[in-house]
């Protein structure tokens, strides 16, 4: 018997034999409000999950192949095109890897500017995800389009914050995505004092929008679910909440691992149902990266204003509820805003000085790791004696999270079935879970089409 009936969000479901939930298949076609194309397929036989696959069906993109033979200083401009949302993070990881491979040491001013633009990207990516993708779930509307009618102030606020973050990135990088002045060895163009002052003033003025955003999220009821897993993030050697640099640590293994040794921690494998690789760690079959992982690893290093917000939102490390990745994103927006104000202030105080772009002193292998909005982002390049790429390996945060999302669902579905939760609500929970990780499969979508079909 195979029956399909429509349920919420344009999804569909069918029941197992005898109208009970103990047997059946959940087929989620086109996971949406995530970036790119993915499906979810779950098969239940007598209450046991016999198949659970988060199927990534995007075509491979071959970036690692087509940077081969490219000059070292052309690579960041190519690989930043991997993503239109986290292009600054890709630029940063690539530049750091190439500088490590080429023996280039950037100036302190360069590092400050890189941190500042990375804050801008975190803000714009998190604001986009929270307001455009996550909030509609909690306010009971299908998307941002009806949200503009029902909650116009919320959308106006989101647009103001996104515009500010875009402008911050454009001020430092020359344009708000795919930065052009962010180069191997330094910046080819520096922001003016007036631009820095303008950004700082606007960031300070954004505090009231942030406060209202926290108020909004205080009232949202997130699903109550928790599962123990490993959280992996960068931890810096100073006291910073790491985004730009640091070594890999996790909630399971706190011994720091240098970026060059990342393969000891991050073990990739190919699975048949996904064109994106899966990752496990040396300690766990799956692990999580992203805002919640950073919060769990570095929460005590947050800016005091962000710590206050975490307290108001009831977010406390260690938090094992993946839905609170959204809460952690909001806490990070506040941290990044306050930290960007401080950085802008420092640059204004010390002044910016143009300097030469530092050149290579050798060519070899280099690894660069940064925290992209969605988590640990790893770029590795091997340069030949002419400074051209011989080999590349890029590991994006979403591919690291896929196995963990599957593990969450494998744990969650039986619990929901035990509680006789209606199947359309299970579908909704799974949609929201995937969305909470803010996956970037390639170029985002919104809801899930779900089929629950009898075997």
């Amino acid at each position: 018997m195979s029956a399909t009936r429509p349920i919420t969000n344009g999804a569909s479901a069918s029941k197992g034999k005898g109208d009970g939930p103990a047997s059946g298949t959940i087929e989620i076609r086109e996971i949406t409000r995530v970036e790119g194309h993915g499906n979810l397929s779950v098969r239940l036989d007598d209450g046991e999950i016999t198949r659970l696959e988060l199927q990534i069906v995007e075509s491979p993109r071959f970036f690692e192949s087509f940077v081969r033979g490219q000059r070292y200083d052309d690579v960041p401009q190519v690989v930043c095109r991997i993503c239109g949302i986290c292009s600054v993070a890709h630029t940063s990881a690539a530049v750091k890897a190439i500088e490590a491979a080429a023996g280039i040491v950037p100036t302190e001013q360069t590092i400050l500017l890189r941190k500042l633009i990375l804050f801008g990207e975190q803000i714009q990516s998190h604001v986009l995800h929270l307001y455009f993708l996550a909030v509609p779930d909690y306010l009971g509307v299908g998307s941002v389009i009806p949200l503009a009618k029902t909650h116009p102030d919320v959308v106006r606020r989101a647009l103001r914050m996104k515009k500010l973050a875009n402008d911050l990135c454009a001020t430092i990088g020359g344009r708000h995505i795919h930065p052009i002045s962010y180069r191997v060895g330094g910046f080819s163009h520096l922001p003016s004092i007036e631009q820095l002052q303008d950004i700082k003033t606007r960031l300070e003025a954004a505090r009231s929008d942030l406060d209202q955003t926290v108020e909004l999220f205080e009232d949202l009821a997130l699903p109550d679910y928790r599962r123990d897993t490993e959280y992996l993030a960068l931890k810096s050697d100073d006291n910073e909440y790491a985004f730009y640099d640091g070594r890999l640590v996790s909630s399971v293994d706190a011994r720091p691992t240098a970026p060059a040794d990342y393969r000891r921690r991050v073990i990739e494998s190919v699975v048949a149902h996904s064109t994106a690789k899966h990752s496990r760690s040396s300690s766990s079959d799956s692990y999580a990266v992203g805002a919640l992982a950073r919060f769990n690893v570095n929460g005590d290093r947050l800016h005091p204003a962000a710590r206050d917000a975490a307290h108001r939102l009831g977010l406390k490390a260690p938090c094992r509820n993946p839905y609170h990745n959204n809460t952690a994103q909001l806490v990070e927006v506040i941290h990044c805003t306050e930290s960007a104000i401080e950085l802008a202030d420092r640059l204004l105080r010390e002044g910016t000085r143009p300097g030469p772009i530092a050149g290579p002193t050798k060519f070899g292998r280099g690894v660069g790791i940064v925290e992209a909005p969605r988590g640990v982002l790893i770029h590795e390049y091997d340069l030949d004696e002419r400074g051209r790429v011989r080999d590349a390996n890029l590991i994006i945060p979403t591919s690291q999270n896929l196995a963990n999302i599957e593990a969450d669902m494998r744990d969650m579905v039986p619990r929901l079935l035990e509680r006789n939760v209606a199947r359309d609500r299970i579908a909704g929970r799974l949609e929201m879970l995937i969305r909470a990780y803010d996956p970037c499969i390639s170029c985002a979508t919104h809801f899930l089409d779900l089929d629950w079909v009898s075997p």
Binding site: G84, P136, R156, L159, R175, I177
Partner: protein, 188 residues
């Protein structure tokens, strides 16, 4: 994906007290005729009309929303699929009828087409619908549509399209300058 030409915004042409125009060229790089809007934006960026921001966008939805706020005139330039009766290269200008609610609804509905719930797939029409609902829709919105023969991979343009790109860029230059002149006279 959107990249704005900001230089003139802070340069000698920008006057905060005068009417402000935003031109958004939409399209996809390396997708044949789908580059039309981007190429027109590139041409206009060389010497933009006064008080005008030129933006090239590869995903205009959410980013378009952040650009239209505060503008008095928004111009959207995009490609549309040619049909048997409308060959590649032909172009037309559509004025969004802001003051007539019913006609505006019809126009926006036809622009929006697919009702998506994804911010990343928000189209031009969706962005205009949201702008209207938020009260951000500028007093005037013009859309220049150039008909396209191919949306495949590559940089090659269909016959006649490059000529239209140059023609439309010139027409937009003239139209914006004339609009600025009339607005200035009205407010003098």
């Amino acid at each position: 994906m959107i990249a704005a030409r900001h230089a003139h915004r802070n340069g000698r042409h920008f006057n905060a007290a005068a009417p402000r125009a935003v031109i958004v060229g939409c399209g996809r790089s390396h997708r044949c005729d789908d580059q039309i809007g981007l190429l027109i934006a590139d041409l206009l960026s060389v010497e933009p009309p006064p008080n005008t921001t030129v933006v090239r966008s590869e995903a205009p939805g959410a980013d378009l929303l952040t650009e239209v706020a505060g503008a008095d005139l928004v111009i959207i330039v995009d490609a549309a699929a040619a049909r048997e009766t409308v060959p590649p290269g032909r172009w037309r200008r559509i004025a969004v009828p802001r003051r007539d609610g019913r006609r505006l609804d019809v126009a926006l509905q036809s622009l929006s087409g697919r009702r998506t719930s994804s911010s990343h797939l928000l189209g031009v029409g969706d962005a205009l619908v949201i702008s209207r609902d938020l009260g951000l829709l500028p007093s005037e919105t013009w859309i220049y549509v150039v008909y396209a023969g191919s949306f495949g991979y590559g940089d090659e343009l269909s016959g006649g399209v490059w000529e239209s790109i140059r023609e439309v860029a010139g027409r937009i230059q003239r139209d914006v300058r004339e609009w600025m002149r009339l607005r200035s006279q009205r407010h003098a």
